[in-house]
């Protein structure tokens, strides 16, 4: 049983490249951006079309990107340099034959870079900043940087970020020819608040009713929102939520007793399915995540008023990326969010996914395990996009699932338990 709204989402995705081309032809620039710390509200309020960039899981693009950036950069960064290299016609020797072979909501590996006029980079992760430098230098893209303070909880960090957001609003307004006004900001803040609310509810729903929606479907639905028209997307999300809620009210023939896993750690981008596939093949299911391409950007982001300062504050006060250091364990919202999301999802174990050379996640793996404690089964998978470690990871996840099954008694999932 799959909600029919999913088909509409897929259809909207198929239409989207042509829509972007038409928008550009009509004089509306498309702003591609990296990292969920870019306040999308600003891009929209400046009359621009936002596209969140970033794909993963393609060894060929990693290799292509590695010709311009270093092999010591994380595969996400390398791949997305490769995406821009390909968009610039520099893909000679790269086997591109399987591109776009996937269908459905997951078909997001196509190079949205081709439709982008300006690239906006939130300098949260220093490597993403470098990615911006490299694509600007080698492929001639216009790149705008949004500075993000690493002392993000300090007063001076807040003052700095407020000024950065205000300056970005001016720059985006100049690009789009439409100044960011309080009225436009009000509209976009409201729109994206609707989207985030719907995403949170969909996550709750999939955790409780896998027979209606899988985590994978919701995760890929979030990815659809990276590129779709934001108004249409909000409508589709609300339709999906309504439809799925109705379906969830119907009796369930069989209880889902698969082991429930929580996915944390490095970015898992459209196209990066290695761990997701293995979990499903091994008979478990993911019920929650703290990924920047999943639920995390939709949690705890509240714009208190439609002003630039309030917008900046909201992004600083949200669940932070691991790339922003927090010098005490006490008050670390990132760690607190992992534990809270894990418990809310009723998970039985954490898979902590660290991409090779993703320093902010990798360096904190041991500590995260210690903080979560012995009561939460924890497995770190340190990997790249290459397929060579797939079977090794399969063995480790399989053993992890056996350990959970053996050491922890199975528990029955109920709405009541979840709400409690």
């Amino acid at each position: 049983m799959s909600p029919a709204t999913i088909d509409r989402l897929c259809e909207a995705l198929r239409r989207r490249p042509a829509e972007l081309a038409a928008a550009r032809a009509a004089g509306t620039p498309v702003v591609g951006y990296f990292c969920c710390n870019v306040p999308e509200e600003l891009v929209l309020a400046a009359g621009l079309v936002p596209v969140r960039l970033g794909s993963g899981g393609d060894e060929r693009l990693v290799e292509l990107g590695g010709r311009y950036i270093s092999h010591q950069n994380c595969p996400f960064v390398r791949q997305n340099v490769g995406v821009f290299a390909r968009a610039a016609g520099e893909a000679e020797g790269v086997d591109d034959s399987e591109e776009g072979a996937r269908s459905g909501v997951g078909a997001l590996r196509s190079a949205w870079a081709e439709h982008v006029d300006t690239v906006l980079v939130a300098a949260t992760c220093p490597q993403i900043y470098r990615l911006g430098e490299v694509i600007e230098s080698f492929f001639g893209r216009r790149v705008e940087i949004l500075g993000v303070p690493r002392n993000f909880t300090s007063d001076e960090g807040r003052a700095y970020f407020r000024a950065e957001v205000a300056a970005l609003a001016d720059r985006l307004g100049a690009i789009g020819g439409q100044p960011v006004t309080p009225e436009r900001l009000t509209t976009t803040v409201d729109l994206l608040a609707r989207t985030r609310t719907a995403i949170r509810r969909l996550y709750d729903l999939q955790a409780a009713h896998p027979e209606v929606l899988s985590w994978r479907t919701v995760f890929e639905t979030v990815h659809a929102g990276f590129v779709l028209d934001r108004g249409e997307y909000a409508d589709l999300l609300e339709d999906l939520l309504a439809e799925a809620t109705a379906l969830a009210a119907e009796p369930v023939a069989e209880l889902d007793d698969r082991i429930r896993l929580f996915l944390a750690g490095s970015v898992i981008s459209p196209g990066d399915t290695k761990i997701l596939d293995l979990v499903e093949e091994l008979g478990a299911r993911i019920v929650g995540d703290d990924l920047c391409t999943g639920l995390r950007p939709a949690r705890q982001l509240v714009v208190k008023e439609p002003t630039l300062d309030a917008l900046a504050d909201a992004y600083l006060d949200r669940v932070p990326c691991a790339a922003l250091p927090h010098l005490t364990l006490t008050g670390d919202r990132r760690l607190a969010n992992i534990e809270a999301s894990y418990r809310e999802a009723g998970a039985e174990g954490v898979i902590y996914h660290s991409l090779r050379y993703c320093d902010p996640i990798t360096f904190k793996a041991n500590e995260t395990k210690q903080v979560l404690g012995n009561q939460i089964p924890f497995l770190e998978i340190h990997t790249e996009y290459a397929s060579s470690d797939t079977e090794g990871i399969r063995t480790r996840i399989d053993a992890f699932l056996e350990m959970i099954e053996t050491a922890y008694p199975p528990k029955e999932w109920t709405d009541a338990a979840h709400n409690a």
């Binding site: 490597q127 430098e133 500075g147 960090g157």
Partner: protein, 472 residues
């Protein structure tokens, strides 16, 4: 003069002593160390306590220079080899010890009465606590610390993780881990954060560096200034003293003098028709421009002496010991590591400059007005810390200024932030200057077991430059 001994262990010949005497003592901020004491230390005490430093094996990247007649090089060696004793003395005197990172400024720490130590000095401090280590023993200790850091944090981290491993393992204790982040390193922030779950009790603080172009962004300067002020007040809270703006201005003035001398040294060295010292002496003296070695006054004293020597050598056409007759001139950029100077010299080249270290020397901080804002303005102007395109333009200028024959961009294992722009900068400099450029990764630089890849690549590049110049 060439100096070799049958066992390849360095010993200072007696005829050098009068030259050392003529150069004068090292004047520290609280005492004067006579040339007799320097001589005694380097000839009697240090070879027994730190024999690894006197091992002239080809794979000892940290070995002392063989150019014994360049006595300022001996003074620089004195500063390094006396480091352990001076750190311990400072600690005994109650000065807070602060782990920082290399390539940042030092003034706020000294103004607040603290002792700033970069990761390399944490290594030296830990290693030299073990006396009598030969080269192999020094390697083993270093590897132990490196592995401790990797186990604790990550194998993906750069080599400075070993310095953090030293703290995590409780080998040494510092009072603060409080670096400037600058735009050079993406590991330092996370490595600092790792100490929050440590047991050694160091207080943690970061002075942030705004990523992206700060030009026309007054808020970026203010942000750094505010961070610096927080740093000083945090150290003050530990010491109970109150560091005034005048204290900081005085420290800025002292470091400006140090930087001016470092520039004068580099200018004199680089302008000389014949390279007046070998690569290792040029490197060790140049480094002092941004490494006050616990006492900027002492560094000023050594730089004064080095300038006099280099100018005299340049005037009389002395060629640095061990250099080829017509060495190709190599400019090095990249991470905080460099090409092994012994390998470069041995292959027929000479290192004429390095971006890191030099970048921090090229501008002074304002000595009037708000000293925090002055330091912030200076830091945000450092060419090495700019966006990569601007940095590449500056690097190309440095190759021209130093009459370089080629450029090497070197990055070490785990340095993903610098390695990311290796090709970008190398290609840009090549396009701008027409010089041959190359970029290479160096693994485990500083450890004697793994220099072969580095040696092969650097030698091949130098040989290519020599062939191109027609001096092969």
């Amino acid at each position: 003069m060439p100096l070799t001994t049958p066992d390849r262990v360095f010993r200072l010949p007696e005829h050098v002593k009068p030259r050392l005497d003529a150069s004068g003592p090292i004047v520290f901020s609280d005492r004067v160390v006579s040339t007799d004491e320097i001589w005694r230390f380097l000839t009697e005490e240090a070879p027994l306590r730190f024999p690894y430093a006197f091992d002239l094996s080809g794979n000892n990247i940290a070995r002392i220079s063989e150019d014994v007649e360049f006595v300022s090089g001996l003074k620089a060696a004195y500063l390094t080899l006396s480091l352990y004793d001076r750190i311990e003395a400072a600690r005994a005197a109650g000065r807070p010890i602060v782990m920082i990172q290399g390539g940042q400024h030092f003034e706020p720490y000294f103004a607040a009465g603290a002792v700033p130590l970069r990761p390399a000095y944490i290594y030296v401090w830990a290693r030299n606590a073990n006396e009598g280590l030969g080269l192999r023993g020094s390697d083993v200790i270093g590897n132990d610390h490196l592995e401790a850091g990797r186990r604790r944090i990550s194998v993906d981290a750069c080599h400075q993780v070993g310095a953090h491993g030293i703290l995590h393992e409780g080998v040494l204790r510092v009072d603060f881990v409080a670096p400037n982040l600058a735009l050079r390193c993406s590991d330092m922030a996370y490595l600092t954060e790792s100490h929050r779950s440590g047991t050694h009790g160091a207080e943690l603080l970061l002075v942030d560096y705004p990523i992206g172009d700060a030009v026309d962004k007054p808020w970026a300067y203010q942000y750094v200034a505010d961070n610096l002020r927080r740093l000083v007040t945090t150290i003050d809270a530990r010491t109970g003293r109150r560091t005034t703006d005048d204290d900081l201005r005085a420290e800025i003035a002292r470091h400006n003098r140090l930087r001016r001398l470092a520039r004068e040294f580099q200018d004199a060295w680089q302008a000389a028709p014949i390279p007046p010292t070998n690569s290792i002496d040029r490197q060790n003296i140049s480094l002092l421009g941004n490494e006050p070695s616990l006492d900027p006054t002492a560094v000023i004293s050594v730089l004064d002496s080095a300038i006099t020597e280099v100018k005299a050598r340049a005037a009389s056409g002395v060629r640095g010991h061990g250099l080829a007759a017509d060495p190709v001139r190599l400019f090095v950029c990249g991470s905080c590591v460099t090409a092994d100077p012994n390998v470069v010299d041995g292959a027929g080249g000479v290192v004429v400059g390095k971006d890191d270290g030099w970048s921090e020397t090229v501008t002074d901080a304002a000595e009037d007005g708000d000293p925090y804002l002055g330091l912030a303005t200076q830091t945000l102007s450092w060419p090495y810390e700019q966006g990569s395109q601007a940095r590449a333009v500056w690097t190309a200028e440095q190759t021209r200024r130093t009459r370089s024959d080629g450029l090497l961009f070197i990055y070490q294992w785990g340095c993903n932030f610098q390695s990311a722009v290796a090709r970008l900068i190398a290609d840009s400099v090549k396009a701008e200057t027409g010089l041959p450029t190359a970029y290479l990764s160096s693994s485990e630089l500083g450890k004697s077991e793994s220099l072969e890849q580095h040696r092969t690549r650097v030698e091949a590049f130098v040989e290519m430059l020599r062939a191109r110049k027609g001096v092969l």
